[in-house]
Amino acid sequence: MSDAQRLPASDDFVRLMDLPFEGGLNEVLHECREILEDTDFPTVKKWREQGGKVMGHFQVYFPEELAHAAGILPVKIRGAPVDREIADSRFGSYMCSILRSSLEIAMTGRLEMDMFVTHPICDGARNLAGIWSRNRPEPAQILYLPQNPNSAFASTWLTQEYRRVLADLEAISGQVATDADLRASTEIFNKNRALLREVYQIKRETPWLLPIHEAYVLVALGGLVQREEHNELLEWVLPRIRERDARQQDKMRVVFEGGFCEQPPLDLLRAIAEFCYVVDDDLLIGLRWLLSDVPLEGDPVNSLAVAYLDDSSYSPVQHDLRKPKEKMLLARIRGAGAEAAIVSAAKMCEPGLDELVAYSQALDEAGTAYFVTEFEERMSSFDHLQIQLETFVENLLFN
């Protein structure tokens, strides 16, 4: 496969990234990182410059197919490591960083949008709709994803709720999303999910080919561009990653848990990668929430709702009796063939911090080694963490 071979042009979607495919894999990965770390959100700006509408959805999960089918770019709002000049005054002291930085990027004009959706994933995030509406002109709302997915009525209700949100999206774009449009969008997202599963398959099977920080960049870009372009990128990148000339090292296989909402800095992930192969994680789990292809038959909105409830991953912010988080974590560790876990939480993240207790107890009972840490999206020094992690790894390797 020639690195110089450009992707075929397509009129079906707008390319928002200008990637140097001619330069080869490493150059593409470098540029991907540059785009992801640009806190001026160049892909979103480009989309808007062309007249496109943008819907920002706060972590963890949003059925982006709805926005896509209505012709809107769904952008995952995951905070940013920016200086907070305005937003801090809108929050109390004991709040996590992602709430503040998400408002900051909107209030400073870094990320402009036409609609904002938050979810009651935690007691802080559910406040965002009110704060947003007091500070921003774009409409803000809460999508109540069911916290009782065990009710037999949950899928009926969620289907109708998705329809309500879809109507709001259509009003923003002025474009009606037919069932055919929704199925077409679902098909594109199904392809995306399959490609993301492939990313994680590489991490599990040959983690030396794809360290966690590179995998993270590849996954995260999906929240900033149209999925067609993301698919195109992954289809170009993944075969080349498989062909990489990288040698397996004697690193410990670990699962990283705690990245479901606020995101650790890329350099933190890079620091972890120096000592460990991260063979699975919950970073940006919302982009990988649905575990398999969503059926294209039947009511497409109902299919999305059912998939959310019944064919989905887990996180500390969804209450589902079928998915005790600590048992799910143990299953993730087993499934990935990991030897240990890094269980973490963002500072001041109440659900994440609460879950650390359950995770620790379950890992103790299972006899699985684990390393506990907290992070913050703006942290810039990792020396301390590296020393601790190195000690942890050495203890396990040499004991």
């Binding site: 109390g92 409409p139 109540y144």
Partner: protein, 446 residues
């Protein structure tokens, strides 16, 4: 003072304390006898359904705050933190976790362990909390998921169709809850028993709303942060009971009497500064916290706590006894939605409250333990300051953790706030005098 005054004034606080002690005695007996208890929460407690099955209602939030009021929360918090809980998470959860580790030992008696947990999503921490019991006791945890307001009041209106399907969703889940309770207790659901419980809640709610309304009187007849919290305790613990209904009807009598005779909680009500409290009280120094305001003549005429923590009793809603289950679903939906609005979108309600109660100032008390209540208070303050000519005070501490309660710092801020209020009062009086010759008499009478 007449005998009538002595009988009536202060009766709510006295009787409330006694009822509360009796209630805890009942829980202690239940624990000794291994009787079944349902753990429920203040917001959307569903106590009515639980009582229908004659289960004891345990309110873990109330248990936890009582450890702070009784100055022993630090023991409980330390124990939970020894087990891995972060200092930065809800103190209520940690105190309860430690209480379970201590076999239910509590300063008011002994708390029975849960046989079932029933919760709404009114607070996300409820969901995390119940997962702890699920792990500890392997009990059924039943969630009634209540969709709240989707956006700030006035920015968008849910269609009638959306409201109806929300109601259907809640109704369906309540029916599922009833099945769980039938299985747990081995009792068949008795709709007439529910009807009776709802009737008693209606009586209590009617009286509660009248009590809140009576604080519009000048001078105020009770302190909504201090005494209001005592009343709230009874409202939750004895919701749907005869003694609870009677208590609040007596309380109405007391407050009407006080309004009629201008009896204030302050020693000198001529100095009254009428305040609205936003948040949850500072329980580790509860009485002192109250005094920091009352010593300056501050009285809380209203409190958002009496809105969101009253289980919807503040709403102008009564259960339809002809359709008890359906009406309960509607009541739960409305009460949880309004509780959410009172915390997430409260600026409109605050502005209304300032007007209705003639408030001079608003005191925001965000706390480390509760993000639901605290996240948007700083932002709300900006709106209130822009919309109304009132002073606002913003003080942070906690409802459980005395490590983040600095009385000296609180006092400094509170003193400065009242100096501002006093100064405004003098300026207004002076301006009134200057503007209207011969108006000195009226200007000295607030």
């Amino acid at each position: 003072m007449t005998a009538t005054t002595e009988d009536i004034v202060g009766r709510g606080a006295r009787d409330g304390g006694e009822l509360f002690r009796n209630w805890y005695d009942g829980l202690t007996t239940a624990a000794a006898k291994n009787e079944k208890a349902a753990y429920v929460f203040v917001m959307g407690s569903l106590a009515e359904i639980v009582r229908t099955f004659d289960l004891h209602c345990v309110f873990p939030e109330i248990n936890s705050l009582q450890t702070a009021v009784r100055h022993c929360s630090d023991e409980y918090l330390s124990l939970a933190e020894d087990h891995g809980f972060s200092p930065d998470v809800c103190g209520y959860v940690k105190a309860d976790y430690a209480l379970q580790l201590r076999g239910g030992e509590h300063p008011m008696g002994r708390i029975p362990p849960p046989s079932i947990a029933v919760q709404t999503n009114a607070c996300n921490t409820y969901l995390k909390w119940s997962e702890i019991w699920e792990r500890m006791y392997d009990i059924p945890v039943v969630t009634v998921d209540v969709p709240g307001s989707r956006s700030a009041p006035g920015t968008a209106v849910l269609s009638g169709e959306s409201v109806e399907r929300d109601r259907q969703y809640v109704l369906y889940q309540i029916k599922e809850l009833i099945s769980h309770l039938e299985t747990l207790t081995g009792k068949k659901f008795d709709v007439d028993r529910l009807r009776e419980v709802l009737r008693l809640t209606n009586r209590m709610g009617r009286a509660w709303r009248r009590v809140l309304e009576l604080n519009r009187a000048r001078p105020a007849v009770f302190d909504a942060m201090m005494e209001g919290t005592i009343y709230l305790g009874v409202a939750n613990a004895l919701r749907g009971t005869e003694e609870g209904a009677v208590y609040f009807e007596n309380l109405v009598e007391e407050m009407e009497y006080k309004a009629e005779h201008s009896i204030s909680p302050l020693v000198d009500h001529d100095k009254e500064h009428r305040l609205v409290f936003v948040g949850v009280p500072c329980y580790p120094i509860f009485r002192r916290f109250y005094q920091l305001f009352s010593e300056w003549g501050g009285v809380f005429v209203s409190s958002t706590y009496t809105w969101f923590a009253s289980g919807g009793l503040n709403l102008d809603f009564e259960y339809d006894l002809e359709n008890p289950v359906e009406s309960l679903a509607e009541g739960v939906m409305l009460s949880v939605q309004r509780a959410g609005d009172s915390m997430l979108f409260h600026d409109k309600y605050l502005l209304d409250g300032i007007d209705e109660f003639g408030a001079d100032g608003v005191v925001y008390h965000p706390i480390k333990s509760c993000r639901t209540v605290s996240t948007s208070l700083a932002d709300s303050r900006r709106v209130v300051l822009a919309e109304r000519d009132v002073l606002c005070l913003y003080i942070e501490s906690d409802m459980m953790d005395k490590r983040v309660v600095s009385e000296a710092q609180l006092k400094n801020r509170i003193d400065a706030f009242f100096e501002g209020l006093e100064s405004r009062r003098i300026r207004k009086a002076t301006a009134g005098t200057a503007a209207a010759p011969g108006a000195e008499q009226s200007a000295t009478t607030p």
